[in-house]
Point group: C2
Chain length 450, copies 2
């Protein structure tokens, strides 16, 4: 199935960002690219993009996506982009003989909306279907003055338009169309309305326009700065909340680190900085922390603790940016976690050295060694253990879940440095991490085979 994307309009209400609307980066990814990436995830490989306003810029960017995503993209220029959007749809007519998905380049959808919509239309590809948002009672994500309303009955569209009085849903700009749509738009055009809505209205009269309920899915038409900011805030949270409602972030991560890292990510996502660069930067901060610990005195100790904690916060940013920019890779996650292990070790070795200024050195090395091995096995055993816990949480057998992870370990280093107790901190970490490892083994053993 082909995907047709309308990207011809000027978007004058948001043009202050200096780019044609489809190319405005939303959380680091141009609006049109985000939609294409989402459709690619749903299995669409062939795209037709209708451009118009600043056609050359949009065209050249869109064409560059073909290689990036390994897809086919055909760009069609609509010189009448300042007219109604039905003209853009008609431009695609020669290129589609089969039913296709039609989407607005400047809308942002939760990927679940696209997935469920495509799942639906693939099972029963017939006629014209519009994805309808029935959440008219909680339209916080909707610009009521600008949105196209629809009135449906028994899953059929009865009326559609920006100014209809009686409506029970909103047009989300996501359509499944068989080629009958072209004739319908022409029919409507003869009556003076060459909009896509006009075409749908024609089909509605004949009982040929169906509605698909997007349920509680959220989407935004980011047509104004205000809606853009709202959408940004919503998706920033959305992209970084755990899937399946099971949060394996540790307590410090949830209460502190994640909040700060999201603030950083929100800004950094619009820069050229890559997730891998962030991973390396966080690693360097930890190495510095370890080195600063080699100096005697409270100031270096405190400074090292602060550096370690900053490194821990920034350690969340790489993943956040990767998720928002659709740049997640298995290698990136692996690389980050390998660096994290070295970071942990350098910080703890530095702390062990620092402790020898004040205590019996063998005891310091022993505590440092036990803290390192404990922390390491903490991480090493985490994959399997987390998998086990997720299963338990999903089965509802366990509700409360306390996780000794990197966020907590580094925070303890920070607190210990602040309190000027280097050796006690090491000893506490050695005890905490190794007891936790034994506890994990016991829990998993008791719970039966993982």
């Amino acid at each position: 199935m082909k995907g047709v994307i309308l990207a011809a309009g000027k978007g004058s209400r948001i043009s202050m960002r200096g780019k044609p609307k489809p190319l405005i980066p939303f959380l680091g990814l141009p609006l049109i690219e985000r939609n294409i990436a989402n459709l690619v995830s749903c299995g669409i490989r062939d795209f037709i993009v209708v451009v118009g306003y600043r056609a050359d810029e949009v065209k050249s960017y869109v064409e560059s996506l073909a290689e990036k995503y390994g897809i086919n993209i055909q760009v069609i220029v609509n010189n009448e982009w300042d007219k109604e959007n039905g003209w853009s749809v008609l431009k695609a007519e020669g290129q589609v003989q089969e039913p296709f998905v039609l989407i607005m380049s400047d809308h942002v959808y939760e990927s679940e909306i696209l997935e469920s919509f495509l799942h639906r239309v693939e099972r029963q590809p017939d006629g014209v279907i519009l994805a309808v948002d029935y959440k008219t009672k909680a339209p916080g994500h909707i610009d009521l003055d600008d949105v196209t309303k629809v009135f449906t009955e028994d899953g059929k569209i009865k009326n559609i338009g920006k100014d209809i009085d009686k409506y029970n849903g909103f047009d989300t700009g996501l359509f499944f169309c068989s080629p009958v749509i072209f004739e319908a738009i022409r029919e409507s055009s003869r009556e003076g309305d060459t909009s896509l809505s006009g075409g749908i209205r024609q089909l509605a009269k004949e009982g040929k326009a169906q509605a698909f309920d997007i349920g509680d899915g959220i989407w935004y038409d980011v047509d104004t700065e205000e809606m853009f900011k709202k959408a940004e805030k919503y998706f920033l949270k959305k992209y970084n909340e755990p899937k399946q409602k099971i949060n394996l972030d540790g307590p410090i991560s949830r209460l502190l680190n994640r909040k700060i890292s999201l603030l950083i990510s929100r800004r950094l996502v619009y820069s050229e900085v890559t997730p891998m660069q962030v991973s390396v930067f966080s690693f360097i901060l930890s190495v510095l922390a370890g080195l600063v610990f080699f100096l005697k005195g409270y100031v270096p100790l405190l400074l090292g603790g602060i550096l370690a904690q900053i490194s821990s916060v920034i350690d969340g940013v790489d993943g956040e940016i990767a998720r928002m920019k659709n740049m997640r890779s298995e290698f990136g996650g692996w690389f980050d976690s390998v660096l994290d292990r070295y970071s942990d070790a350098f910080v703890l070795f530095g702390l062990a050295y620092h402790s020898t200024f004040y205590h019996n050195s063998f005891m310091c090395w022993l505590a440092g060694f036990l803290a390192i091995i404990g922390s390491f096995v903490n991480s090493y055993s985490a994959d399997k253990y987390d998998g086990y816990l997720k299963k338990r949480l999903r089965e509802g057998k366990k509700r409360v879940y306390f996780r000794v992870g990197r966020d907590l370990r580094v925070f303890i280093v920070f607190l210990g440095a602040l309190a000027n107790f280097p050796f006690t901190t090491l000893a506490a970490l050695a005890a905490l991490t190794n007891v936790e490892n034994v506890r994990r083994i016991v829990v998993v053993m008791k719970g039966g085979k993982v």
Copy 2:
């Protein structure tokens, strides 16, 4: 589909082991249990077992398997167990209305034979099919005096019997039968032959007996001590060679450790020792090695090195026993690998302490620390890295494969202790493991996303 297992015979030629033949442990698992476990893996959940000789013993053991494997087992007693085996088949008649799989309890099959056979019969469940071994030119796994021969043409059985002159294959004792087999055996019985072969011969006459080619699959009828030993040797190797012909054992493991551990496992598999007990024992040896290193002098150093190497060899035994006894579990593997990380750390920490007897202590701790973290990250990065390499090996993009793993690291400790160079050993390990970690990152990064 039900599985019918013939377990009534006396097996007089191998009875010296003191147990009824189906209960003779083969690599730690009674013959009949191994067959049941293999069929369970292929999806069979309902079994009918025909017992006879020492019926009570066999019955009570077989019934205990129902709970262990979560399956249904019905035991039928054939008091005429000293007659031909067709009588045992006939005893099952009342219990099977549908086609079923029929198997001899005292044969040992490579699981691939059962898998491909069941895959075949599930696609086209029709008539009577015998799994035939066509390897008549290399019958090292066959007792030619005792085996039942078959002659087939175009996939149809033409003749079958122990003493036929013209044959091109062997009866493997694995059948797929529709209930017509019962009438066929009775028919044959009227002519004086109440064996299963007799029934097949009847069906062959009518063109109703098909042959399934087991290809290069290996099976044994362990009817004599000699065949039992042969089979044991073959499967000992088989169970412990890597799947998919890709061996990720390190060089020391391949050339030394695996050879010794298999000798140990071959004996230990017949004892009550569990894989987890072996894991713990190996761990204790490593802890002892670490402790012995705390004593000054060459003798403790050497002793520690030897203990560490023995621990490394025994570390292979748990997995081997688990595979042979069908006791593999995700928890077991996880538990073993967590203990291995502690083992590594204790040995290296001990070695670092030992080095301080002779060298600047900070340098010793630093080398020890780097060796520990390097070894850790070696193991930590191994899963992903191995997955990547397996892919490359499968694609044929890479042939030679050198793996820095635990086997090599411990062996270096052993050699270093033998040569009385504790500090140099640590420094070498620190360099080797950390360079290897960087190399892995570079290799994976170059090879594209994993």
